[in-house]
């Protein structure tokens, strides 16, 4: 089921939670709504589920306008951050709930319900727990029950609100792999909300980056990570170093340091900021004319990459850099040495508000 979100706006009092949101989601896609808290991502998800009403705009499932259809009729599976399991029902009863509340004529028979629920319990690997109550399960198990419960009604759309937010790191990683696999097997159009960029990059087909009730960028994980279209997206997805300077003749210049910024050839004497990922920073021991001098202040050597913290000698700004272990060894670095830093790749934005 494809989903079209058209011009959705929502205000709470004077606070504009969502402002003219337009997103097209293809059938079978797994979409991440990514943004900081207060960006409106959960509101949008709840509007898609029909748990909240938009002030204007429309939601279409396929060709059908479901803006004014109640949650009950929308046939969406919704998974809550805090599971929202029915505490007084066993795992089995929780999963069977959606089938049992169907009107008599469309309700499956008892053996059919049992078969279906057992299948789902197997799918979420909770065979030994079907008679337990939610309070006797761990967080990861509870969230799996919640997923099975949502899947039991064979939803056309699966909506997940920070599904792994309340779980610890290890379980979270396992569960999102499992979700990815589940999605590959079943191909239900799914939208999940997260504030964890790593989770979004890891799981989603496409990511919708949201900020202050607006969509900042929509794209595949590679697109939004490698080609952010705004400083916000740069900041939000991964670490970034800032090189402030002035644009002049297609170059971003600060002191004697300058880099090419060909897309701003026309800009004259404009303040601008260059954004560089830590792994796009090149470090040399020899002085070169267009590099910046910096001092290594911290070396963090865990895993395949070595993370360095540096202080620029000229401005005192802190920079972060990532090197491979081999490169790090060949440079023979220790804390306190002076090195010369040059961005390999840099994206320049002219700030609208310099306070960022």
């Amino acid at each position: 089921m494809s989903i079209q979100i058209r011009n959705i706006s929502k205000s709470f009092g004077t606070f504009r939670a969502l402002d003219q949101i337009n997103i097209d989601i293809q059938t079978g896609e797994l979409i991440a709504l990514l943004g900081p808290s207060g960006s409106g991502k959960t509101s949008l998800l709840r509007i898609i589920a029909g748990l909240e009403a938009a002030n204007q705009g429309a939601i279409l499932f396929g060709d059908e306008d479901i803006t004014h259809v109640s949650t009950k009729e929308r046939k969406v599976g919704f998974v809550f951050q805090h599971y929202a399991l029915f505490r007084h029902m066993t795992v089995f009863d929780n999963i069977a709930y959606g089938l049992r509340v169907r009107p008599r004529k469309s309700r499956p028979s008892k053996p059919e319900i049992e078969k279906k629920v057992k299948e789902l319990i197997k799918l979420v690997k909770l065979e030994a727990f079907s008679n337990r109550y939610p309070s006797h399960l761990s967080g990861g198990q509870r969230q799996r029950v919640a997923l099975a419960r949502a899947l039991a009604v064979e939803p056309k759309v699966l909506l997940l609100d920070e599904p792994f937010g309340a779980l610890d790191a290890k379980v979270r990683k396992d569960l999102r792999r499992w979700l990815r696999k589940l999605h590959n097997d079943y191909q239900i159009t799914s939208i999940f909300v997260t504030h964890d960029q790593e989770e979004a990059l890891d799981v989603a087909d496409r990511i919708v980056v949201m900020n202050e009730g607006k969509v900042e960028q929509i794209g595949t994980p590679e697109e939004v990570y490698d080609y952010p279209n705004s400083p916000f997206v740069y900041h939000f997805l991964g670490n970034v170093n800032l090189f402030k300077g002035r644009l002049h003749n297609g170059k971003l210049r600060q002191g004697h340091f300058e880099v090419d910024a060909p897309e701003f050839l026309g800009a004259e004497n404009t303040e601008a900021v260059g954004y560089v990922r830590p792994h796009d920073i090149n470090i040399e021991r020899e002085k070169s004319p267009d590099a910046v001098a910096a001092t290594v202040i911290y070396i963090h050597m865990i895993g395949a990459v070595v993370q360095l913290e540096l202080i620029r000698t000229d401005t005192g700004d802190v920079l972060e850099a990532e090197l491979t272990k081999e490169h790090f060894r060949s440079l023979n670095l220790i804390t306190g040495v002076e090195v010369y830093v040059k961005p390999k790749q840099l994206k320049v934005f002219i700030p609208e508000d310099y306070s960022i």
């Binding site: 748990l51 009950k72 969406v76 805090h82 029915f86 505490r87 007084h88 709930y97 509340v101 109550y133």
Partner: protein, 277 residues
């Protein structure tokens, strides 16, 4: 010595003062509850058994048991239904005067019960404000007694259910809706089971209160032997006749009855609670 030390080790917990608070609790409960109640039994057994049996199985007394227990149970049942309704109203909806209604609920707690009795009687007698419009009699019938007992028991259910309803996770209802349930199904299958333990507590409290109620009932009951005499009234009558043994014997019967009923309700509650806590 080692054993003594290990015993001492066990006692050391995070919270200090276990011994002191246990001792104080036991002393307090003994002084206020166990001692007076055991006096009832001690007083009773001082008389010979045949006489006790005669007193407590007297038809007039038997009728009063039936009335007291029957009316109290009925009143508690009515209170559960409407108490849950009022609690729901107060928690879930915003309406003008909600705070005032919320305050009014406690009034039966605060009002001297005799005043309630007199007020209800004047309303419901044959030519009272409300009584004149009714084709059946309320005052001086068991119906009137149930009315008075319902009045004094109302706050118990409202005040026990209200906080539970307030803390109820709204997401459970949203989950229920997203799974295709309608409002009635959500209430019956999701909300009500959550409220049940609190409603049972409210029921038990309202029932216990009604069983011992005296002040409000004596006015509206009319106190006709075999018809509208409640047990507490009979006890009062016996006391006025200086028949202390008879009074305590009846009291003991009531006490055992209440104890058994409260025990059953507690067991029920334990069963419903055990599942998910």
């Amino acid at each position: 010595m080692a054993r003594l030390q290990s015993m001492k080790m066990k006692r050391v917990g995070v919270l200090p003062g276990f011994g002191l608070s246990l001792g104080f609790t036991m002393f307090y409960i003994s002084l206020l509850v166990i001692l007076p109640l055991s006096m009832v039994f001690i007083n009773t057994v001082s008389v010979e058994w045949a006489k006790i049996w005669q007193t407590i199985s007297d038809p007039r007394v038997m009728a009063s048991y039936k009335l007291s227990i029957g009316a109290s149970l009925t009143a508690a049942c009515i209170n559960v239904v409407f108490g849950v309704l009022i609690a729901w109203m107060l928690v879930r909806y915003r309406f003008p005067g909600a705070r005032i209604v919320d305050g009014l609920v406690d009034l039966p707690f605060a009002l001297p019960t005799a005043i309630a009795g007199i007020a209800l009687t004047t309303l419901y007698t044959k030519n009272g404000w409300l009584g004149q419009f009714l084709s059946f009699k309320v005052a001086f019938t068991p119906l009137g007694i149930i009315m008075a007992l319902t009045f004094i028991g109302l706050p118990f259910v409202v005040r026990t259910v209200q906080p539970v309803l307030q803390n109820l996770d709204q997401e459970m209802e949203e989950a229920s809706a997203s799974l295709g349930a309608n409002r009635l199904q959500t209430f019956v299958k999701v909300i009500f089971p959550e409220l049940l333990p609190a409603a049972l507590t409210g029921f038990a409290l309202a029932f216990a209160r009604a069983l011992g109620e005296y002040g409000s009932v004596v006015f509206i009951a009319g106190n006709m032997p075999m018809r509208t005499e409640i047990t507490p009234l009979l006890i009062m009558t016996k006391l006025e006749q200086y028949d202390y043994a008879g009074a305590t014997a009846i009291a003991a019967v009531m006490l055992i009855f209440s104890f058994i009923l409260l025990l059953i309700i507690n067991l029920l509650q334990w069963r419903t609670n055990r599942k998910f806590i």
